[in-house]
Subunit: 633 residues, 2 copies
């Protein structure tokens, strides 16, 4: 029996049979209630195809315009639908597109960590081994706490927090009075029986929109003991920060769900790192955590709703310190969890950490830091002055909203060459199953070289006989727009043609124009030109696989000699590690955050102009915006 | 079916039928497992009769020596047993003595509270009403937290704790930016929408071994809004501190049980006070709590095991401050819970508070403070110098270990007169059901006057014809010892004779000798005599009903003119109230605790001598110990 106004929905592969759904409820909601994981990268807005499902049997809901745009007419005809927008109209049986597997994903860890040599070790965590005797005579009445304080050489009334006090009677009597008191900047945070002075550890984490990376470090030596990484499980609720905020906006339960999912990931990673290094969670006394403003707020359980609304203000920018027990981090209960400071709603603690790691703030040179993620954070340093902006690149560089897009994982096309035909480099030398950001940039650059794409981004078959027939055969006109087949169905890993579509190129244009225009805006604020730039530092998970020349060719990066562009890995994590092992570095992070002037691109008078100009693939062919353009295509 | 080695025990009046018990298990343990409340005032040591049960049917376990001592041969013959020591030997049906009812108990609240006039109001709790606007333009990126800090007039990076930060986004936008920030000594402890500046409250509590008393106070005016009191529910696990410690010693689960029971009582009392005064729990921002060392430790979840072992050291003596959420107190989550400092294992925060309330530390006069409870805390001030001791009086003054003893509640004999016959004053003018401490002291004094008790405490029928026949008829010799019937079975409220027994007189001697010898010891330490004493201040729940002349007659208090002895009520609670409304007073409490020299009676060279001398009812008939005794009996 089912109630009027309801229907039964069966999910292929799910055990337990059909589930009840209300008529009009979205298939995505029905799936999630039933415990079926469906990725919705765009935040349930019909702007990507990650949540696509196929109606196998029963009543097929009518297709929406977004279904046609994202899935094509063929897809719609084959009963593919976007689960986020498709409403249940009656009983049906549904197959969900496989969720993006985490296996094999190449997530970037920290940069080469040389903390042990380069950084003074002043984590603030100190272990004091003392011998304190519980009083046995009664001539001078005292207390257990005072016996320990006296052994520590403290004469003032000592401050043991209540949870530590509760452990004092047993610890004091456990090991003949030998015990170890752990302090952070002088405050008691732990007490253990015996001499444990050789065991003090810390973790550093960069919580990104897409990935979470961390390291376990010995605070006595600065040595990195383990490096761990995972996808951010919140990704199924929205691929970029704005989608993530939209999902949880003004909804405490959804915020709690996002928080719990990332907390579980971080704690699982700590467990994994501890296992690898032979360390107990209770031996972790400090954590340094960075992330963009939204990830920072969600991790702490702070509502990020207003970060998603103009003027995009964070709830708090100052550096925060909390006890591990308070934020539910797997560590000693009073371990110090340090969140680095924030500059603005879209220039977060990760950017501050990246500046700290690259020492951009110290340089007299004119240097540019570009961290290309779903938001591209850009910092320009000119003689010690720092300006920053956030360019909304969207998930394109991470494979989002791209027809065959995927993260840089096994099976992803990461590089493309064109001569008589197309040849692709695939991560893991596996059959291709999709294309990642660096592959898309490479493909766009080569297709533009070959004439398949003009300066405006329009795809077409080049005229004349310059091209081989095989190459020409890869071009197709379809109802949804033109496309070029990179790998045919016969050679791919999933039996589909892997293509670059007109839509993909448009997405790429929007993404790279955002970054380029952001760089232009900062240069304009500082009054410098490309020739003043002495170095471009690329950071973030993306830069690892990037062909710098292709990036310049399509106008993502400024037109500089390739040798001026360097890649520093995950600088945000490196910065977190610095703050972990050095309180001086952590204090420096605050000074950096206070020194960075934030440029809100939406308010910048010329941003719109820069952005429109940067949409062109020929943007780097002119020397500077405003100078005479020298178009080559 | 029941397992071998087990038996079925039925408790009269309990629903649900028989419960399974292991052979050899104590009846007390079986009862508690079955949810039947049984009071065990002496801590399951066979030293009182509070846990007596009657075996109605089935196998009657053999009587122990303690059964005979506590219950008498008649009682044993009638199948009364002490549940704590009686082991199950087979199926049986049992009637438990009714647990001591809490109804009608006269628990002493604070002394007359004149805080509003006498004490400067500086509770440390301040409410700041500000108008803070969430930024609407984007010219100067800031954060919600900074908007509030700016409105507060703070320029530095403001410290909002994480749980407060979580509430900032909604509070800032709830009431047009009008909000109230509550601080304690400058630290932010709450944030609420709108102007709530007129609502700030606090609670003061004295957690005693037997009773818990508290008041709700308006921190803006100092006005007392409600006064609440309850029995300490831990009493069923042991009537005095040592029994309570013995119950939970080195047993975390039992400690947790004790803690939970007193916490529930305190929170229920807060709820009751709030209801009475029309205050919400979340409007309570400060609590000042006192209690003896054991109650203090248990309330905080600190193991008091070692307080019960020589040299009786506390785990901590310094004043403690914790958030309400941390100690699970019903109040605003960050309300400041202040525990006053401790002097020694048996001179606790309640004594410090009593000194604070009586200003003993400020006096140039020679003054004595006596707080008669299960432990008698005694403080002697001589020209600003303070010495204190704790005299183990035991529960006698509160009716414990007295044949017909009970607390000062409705039905308790609180005063006794002798002329031709005995006449009793009964609390509530009800038929007598027992005798409380003041009644016992009065009875002993009058019985000694009439010659029923000699100086050594031996009971007997006075020789000669001075006494009326009715009076003489009240004296009985029984196998268990002599006794005097105060109220016959026909006139009593429970159909039993209410008597004073030889055993009761012995208990009274032990109790009053402890107090007297404690006073002697402090006088000896200070080198003063009774004639130097300008005032004796009586405090605590006991003093309210005490006939001072009787107390002097039996040698409980020093032989001073009655006008030099004053009663100040529950000075410990008054002290807690002072610390609640005044940070200056709270700081003074620390200074007091540090100034009090603790005298450990067990170490005092003459204590044993004093104690033996003080056992005599004629101790006050000599002028000073060591001078020639002038015995009158």
């Amino acid at each position: 029996m089912r109630a009027a106004g309801s229907a039964l929905v069966t999910f292929a592969g799910r055990e337990g049979g059909a589930v009840a759904a209300r008529l009009g409820e979205s298939l995505l909601a029905v799936a999630r209630h039933a415990g079926v994981e469906v990725t919705a990268t765009c935040g349930e807005r019909g702007r990507c195809r990650s949540c696509r499902v196929k109606i196998l049997e029963g009543q097929v809901p009518p297709a929406t315009l977004q279904d046609e745009i994202q899935l094509g007419r063929d897809g719609v005809r084959e009963h593919f639908r976007l689960a986020c927008l498709t409403k249940v109209i009656g009983n049906c049986s549904v197959m969900v597109a496989p969720p993006r597997s985490e296996a094999g994903h190449q997530i970037l860890g920290g940069g080469a960590w040389t903390g042990a040599e380069a950084t003074p070790l002043d984590s603030g965590v100190e272990k004091h081994v003392v011998t304190a005797k519980a009083a046995s005579g009664s001539s001078d009445p005292t207390s257990d706490a005072e016996a320990i304080a006296a052994a520590l050489g403290e004469t003032r009334h000592c401050d043991f927090p209540l949870d530590i006090l509760r452990r004092i009677p047993s610890v004091l009597r456990a090991d003949g009075g030998i015990l170890t008191v752990t302090t952070f900047n002088g405050e008691v945070i732990d007490i253990e029986p015996g001499d444990t002075s050789s065991r003090k550890f810390g973790v550093a984490f960069d919580i990104g929109t897409t990935t979470v990376v961390g390291t376990l470090i010995d605070l006595s030596t600065g040595e990195q003991l383990a490096s761990v990484r995972a996808m951010n499980p919140q990704a199924i609720y929205g691929g970029d920060v704005l989608s993530r905020i939209a999902y949880a906006q003004f909804d405490e339960k959804k915020l709690a769900r996002l928080r719990a999912s990332v907390l579980k990931t971080v704690n699982d990673l700590i467990t994994e790192a501890c296992r690898e290094a032979g360390v107990a969670g209770a031996e972790i006394y400090k954590a340094a955590i960075v992330g963009n403003t939204c990830m920072h707020h969600i991790f702490l359980g702070i509502d990020p709703s207003n970060v998603g609304l103009a003027p995009y203000n964070p709830v708090v920018r100052s550096p925060l310190v909390a006890a591990a027990a308070q934020v539910l981090l797997k560590a000693a209960p009073r371990a110090i969890v340090c969140l680095l400071p924030i500059v603005a709603g879209f220039v977060g603690a990760d950017t501050v950490a990246a500046v700290l790691a690259t020492r951009l703030h110290e340089s007299d040179a004119c240097r540019l830091l570009v961290d290309i993620g779903t938001n591209g954070e850009i910092v320009l340093a000119v003689k010690g002055r720092l300006v920053a902006c956030s360019a909304p690149a969207g998930p394109t560089f991470e494979g989002g909203q791209v027809q065959h897009g995927m993260r840089a994982a096994v099976g992803a096309i990461e590089g493309v060459d064109l001569d008589d035909d197309v040849s692709c480099r695939v991560i893991g030398d596996a059959p291709a199953i999709g294309i990642c950001g660096s592959g898309l940039i490479d493909a766009a650059a080569r297709l533009r070289d070959a004439g398949f794409i003009d300066a405006s981004g329009m795809m077409g078959l080049p005229e004349g006989n310059r091209l081989s027939l095989r190459l020409k055969a890869r071009f197709r006109e379809r109802a949804e727009g033109s496309e070029v087949v990179l790998v045919g169905a016969a050679g791919s890993g999933n039996g589909e043609d892997i293509t670059v579509t007109q839509g993909d190129v448009r997405q790429l244009q929007l993404a790279k124009a955002a970054i380029h225009a952001g760089i232009m805006a900062l240069k304009a604020v500082m009054g410098i030109s490309n020739s003043d730039l002495q170095e471009v530092v690329l950071a973030g998970g993306f830069g690892n696989y990037l062909n710098v020349e292709s990036a310049i060719r399509i106008g993502l990066l400024p037109a500089l000699p390739a040798e001026k562009i360097s890649y520093v890995g995950n600088a945000a994590l490196t910065g977190a590690q610095l703050a972990l092992v050095s309180e001086q570095a952590r204090n420096e992070a605050l000074a950096i955050a206070q020194r960075i002037d934030h440029v809100e691109l939406a308010d910048h008078p010329q941003f719109e102009e820069h952005f429109v100009a940067a949409l062109s693939f020929a943007v780097n062919d002119r020397r500077e915006l405003g100078e005479e353009a020298v178009c080559t295509a």
